[in-house]
């Protein structure tokens, strides 16, 4: 059985960043396993710009951003095994994979980094009534057809969900000659970044219907028509509010879910909120030596944070491989009022580096107060304007604070504006 110091599952933005970090920190015997024919992951189909502002201080396209990391990985002689699917990850850190050249192979890794990415919620998961014709796609599926394969899925388009991929596709398909009739968002606020609302919808006069959803699909063979209804505060359709659009295409941009089945089968504990593994300050999961990062851990807003997080998980793996991780009490990190989730979810009492929490709020805040507490002790308190669920927030727990922890950690966000 072949043995590696570290095996990274996934050769997208997280996996490449983790690989580069491992090599740079002296871990030589590593392998990246990628299911597609080339590394880069979903970035290869995200041909729009806006990537890399944090990492490279430039606005790159997705493929360019990926290529920067691919080049670094090549320079560092990272082995990337493409067209290879991991079938099973075992708690003993054996990995079973399959590809056309080698067949069915089992390898052993001292450390495993899960950088598996996420998948899009499908129509079935959001329960849209009506027929099931051709013409209904997830936004990412249509994006792949258009940007990698070079085909238009349709010419008369409606989009359900204001996630960023949906917004990006609204602009992309408009530029390619399609008519985008509108975007419906179930929630009273958009799930996309403000920049995308402006540049993908407003620039092209595409209406955004907040508190609306698709309530019926018509068309037996190919989509012919959709019914869109307003929803009330319980997100139930309001009778009499129906609008009809004669479209041949419906794109769904209704959420991303971490691809967690390998972790689940390996017996790794999951966070039901993020739907990814629970990790500690080293990004280590509940199975020692298995780490997680990127959209397979929790869904990120910007790829720069994926790369950053993956580098941290790789640094955690290096500590593990160098035997510098101490068994110690781990404090839990809770999402308090106003907060949907916090990652990492555990902090070791002996953690000797700063921990940056990523978290998302549950709803929009005009003027928010963010409080991080340990037991009753307030560790950090700050005010921030304009918090929204579509944007990931960060908060740092310093080594000094870790030394002074009095109990589990909670982050809460409350509205402090006078309600104007």
């Amino acid at each position: 059985m072949k043995k590696y110091q570290a095996v990274i599952i996934g050769g997208g933005s997280a996996g490449l960043s983790a690989a580069v970090t491992l090599k740079n920190q002296g871990i030589e015997n590593i392998l990246v396993i990628e299911k597609d024919g080339e590394p880069g992951g979903i970035l290869q189909q995200c041909i729009h710009n806006g990537f890399g502002l944090q990492t490279f201080k430039e606005q790159l396209s997705g493929p360019s951003y990926a290529e920067r990391y691919i080049e670094q990985a090549e320079d560092l002689h990272v082995d990337i095994l493409c067209n290879t699917m991991v079938i099973k990850l075992n708690p003993d850190k054996t990995i079973e994979y399959v590809n056309a050249e080698e067949g069915y192979v089992t390898i052993l890794a001292d450390a495993v980094i899960l950088a598996v990415g996420c998948y899009e919620r499908s129509r079935g998961a959001v329960e849209i009534p009506g027929e099931r014709p051709a013409g209904i796609y997830t936004a990412g599926q249509a994006q792949r057809y258009l940007n990698i394969d070079g085909y238009m899925v349709g010419k008369k388009v409606f989009i359900l969900g204001s996630g960023d991929i949906g917004l990006i596709m609204a602009r992309r398909m408009t530029l390619e000659g399609a008519k985008v009739y509108g975007v419906a968002e179930l929630m009273p606020y958009s799930n996309g970044l403000p920049r995308n609302i402006k540049q993908c919808l407003e620039d092209f006069d595409i209406p955004l219907y907040l508190s609306h959803t698709v309530t019926k699909i018509f068309g037996h063979d190919r989509l012919e028509r959709i019914e869109v209804s307003q929803v009330d505060e319980h997100l139930k359709p309001v009778p009499g509010s129906q609008m009809y659009f004669d479209v041949d295409t419906l794109l769904l941009s209704v959420g991303l879910i971490p691809e967690n089945h390998l972790a689940d089968e390996a017996g790794i504990l999951m966070n039901p909120r993020t739907k990814g593994p629970i990790v500690d300050d080293n990004y280590m999961t509940s199975v020692p030596g298995i780490f997680a990062c990127g959209n397979g851990l929790h869904v990120h807003d910007l790829v720069d944070f994926v790369s950053m997080e993956a580098a941290r998980s790789a640094a955690g793996a290096v500590r593990y491989l160098n035997n510098t991780l101490k068994e110690d009490h781990k404090y839990e990190v809770f999402a308090g009022d106003g907060v949907n989730y916090v990652v990492p979810g555990l902090v070791s009492a002996s953690c000797d580096h700063n921990v940056e929490f990523f978290f998302r709020v549950r709803q929009n805040f005009e003027q928010a107060e963010i409080v991080m507490k340990s037991g009753d002790k307030v560790l950090r308190k700050l005010k921030k304007r304009k918090l929204m669920p579509s944007v990931m927030e960060q908060m740092v727990l310093t080594t000094k604070m870790i030394q002074e922890l009095e109990g589990d950690i909670t982050i809460t966000v409350t509205e402090v504006s006078d309600g104007k």
Binding site: G124, D149, Y151, M152, V153, E176, I217
Partner: protein
């Protein structure tokens, strides 16, 4: 001139086609859809009922019990998946418990294995059974299958033995000549001595082409379902509520052959025989009624909902007979539940009790009624997988990541007799797109494989029906 034309390539029509393919007969099977098993056979509970449910002295009772017993061998012969899960009929309270006695009595008389369990005993086996369940009648031999897989396998065998299959062939008119029929379709005329009407929801319509006063009326009855991902294991057995005259078998929880769970159906009469749409009301009904027998339903694992139409009939029993006023026209109509379980026996009944009277049934030489099981990577041990990939590297190229389906398996199903030529056809045969991402990842890849193998443009590949194009145009 055909000896027999079967209208409808569902489970009944394909079973019959396979059974007839052993004889020296000129047989055609026609269907209006673009693939085998696109009607009621595609969207149902997938259960081989053992036969305690139908009333005494009915064809349903006779053929259900007989048909169910034939499935083990049929699935073995055809290399089809079948899983004996057992079924629980769960009673809540005394009134329902009394009804279980009726079912047990029928089972006893029909030689069907059954067992009694208390509510608590049943809950030990099924932790998600509701607290309201007081008594359970268990039928340990009840099995689940992939209905369309069996139908496709039957069609494959039939074609291999010389039966002709014509898809996208919609029967528009039937004229009766002196000693034969002419079936006029969008795809030409078919002359035949005998017609077998196995057209499910369309059976009344087809019958009306030869008879102005049909003795039965078919009303499509829609059943809607949720499908749970196999990441969650929810039930071990099929869980039925106690059946009732008005609601039929009720809302079930069904473990499928591949580890998913089906929840449903409701039962809703619809006017449009094409209306397989789901509805808020229907799915709400399923949710509400499931609480009677089940608890802790993990709806967050729902990956799909779908609806199927059952050919609900004004006649409570199957109608399997030569039409009284139209000699040579044989109805296999009014076949709703337990039509799937009964199909093998229905086919035999038609051959032995009807066709034999009219036709000389001599066996052909060199017929093969079995089908080798298509290679399925997921069923193999690691060693067997390695061996398969050594022989054909494409078995190592995984296309569907959720269900781990390889390109080799997809190619196999395209190039078999009655092979897949649509994205849904591939999904029905080897299951890419059946998983949690519902094809989000693999559909573009499957589409490109189909285009390449069928030597057509990707823009010509369809989802299912022949007009269901997936790509509108080349963008560059």
């Amino acid at each position: 001139m055909y000896d027999i034309v079967i209208i409808g390539a569902g489970i009944t029509g394909t079973m019959l086609a396979r059974d007839l393919s052993r004889y020296r007969l000129h047989v055609a099977l026609i269907d209006k859809e673009n693939d085998i098993a696109d009607g009621a056979t595609m969207a149902n509970s997938a259960i081989v009922h053992v036969g305690y449910d139908p009333e005494d002295d009915t064809l349903k009772a006779l053929l259900n019990v007989e048909g169910a017993r034939m499935y083990e061998k049929i699935c073995e012969d055809l290399g089809c998946h079948r899983k004996v899960t057992g079924a629980y009929v769960a009673a809540c309270g005394e009134v329902e418990e009394k009804h279980l006695d009726i079912l047990a009595d029928r089972a006893e008389r029909r030689g069907i294995t059954y067992e009694w369990l208390s509510g608590d005993e049943a809950r030990k086996e099924e932790e998600n059974l509701s607290e309201q369940v007081t008594k359970v009648l268990s039928f340990p031999t009840t099995a689940v299958i992939y209905p369309w897989e069996v139908a496709i396998a039957c069609a494959e065998v039939a074609v291999t033995n010389g039966v002709e299959i014509y898809l996208n062939t919609c029967c528009e008119r039937i004229t009766k000549e002196e000693d034969h029929f002419v079936i006029h379709t969008n795809n030409g005329d078919y002359e035949t001595r005998y017609v077998i009407n196995a057209s499910g929801v369309g059976a009344e319509k087809v019958y009306r082409m030869v008879c102005d006063t049909p003795e039965f009326k078919i009303t499509p009855r829609r059943g809607e379902y949720f499908v749970l991902d196999h990441q969650v294991h929810y039930v071990n057995h099929i869980i039925f509520p106690v059946p009732s005259a008005e609601k039929g078998k009720g809302v079930l929880a069904v473990p499928t052959v591949f580890g998913n769970t089906l929840l449903g159906p409701n039962s809703d009469y619809v006017d449009d025989p094409e209306d397989t749409g789901t509805s808020f009301e229907g799915l709400d009904y399923v949710r509400a009624n499931l609480t009677k027998t089940m608890k802790n339903v993990p709806y967050r694992y729902v990956i799909r909902n779908f609806a199927g139409l059952r050919p609900s009939s004004s006649c409570p029993d199957f109608i399997i007979e030569e039409a009284k006023t139209v000699p040579g026209f044989i109805n296999a109509a009014s076949i709703e539940s337990p039509g799937l379980a009964s199909a093998p026996a229905v086919s035999q009944y038609i051959i032995q009790n009807i066709l034999k009277k009219h036709l000389e049934l001599t066996e052909k030489e060199n017929v093969c009624l079995t089908r080798e099981k298509p290679l399925a990577m997921a069923d193999l041990t690691p060693e067997e997988k390695a061996e398969a990939i050594r022989k054909n590297p494409l078995y190592g190229k995984i296309i569907c990541r959720c269900e781990q389906i390889s390109e080799g398996e997809i190619l196999d199903c395209i190039h078999r007799p009655c092979g897949a030529h649509t994205v849904k056809g591939v999904k029905k045969r080897v299951r890419p797109g059946m998983g949690r991402c519902q094809g989000g990842f693999c559909e573009p890849r499957v589409l490109n494989i189909l285009a390449r193998e069928l030597n057509i443009s990707p823009t010509e590949v369809v989802l299912d029906a022949k007009n269901a194009k997936i790509l509108e145009s080349e963008n560059r």
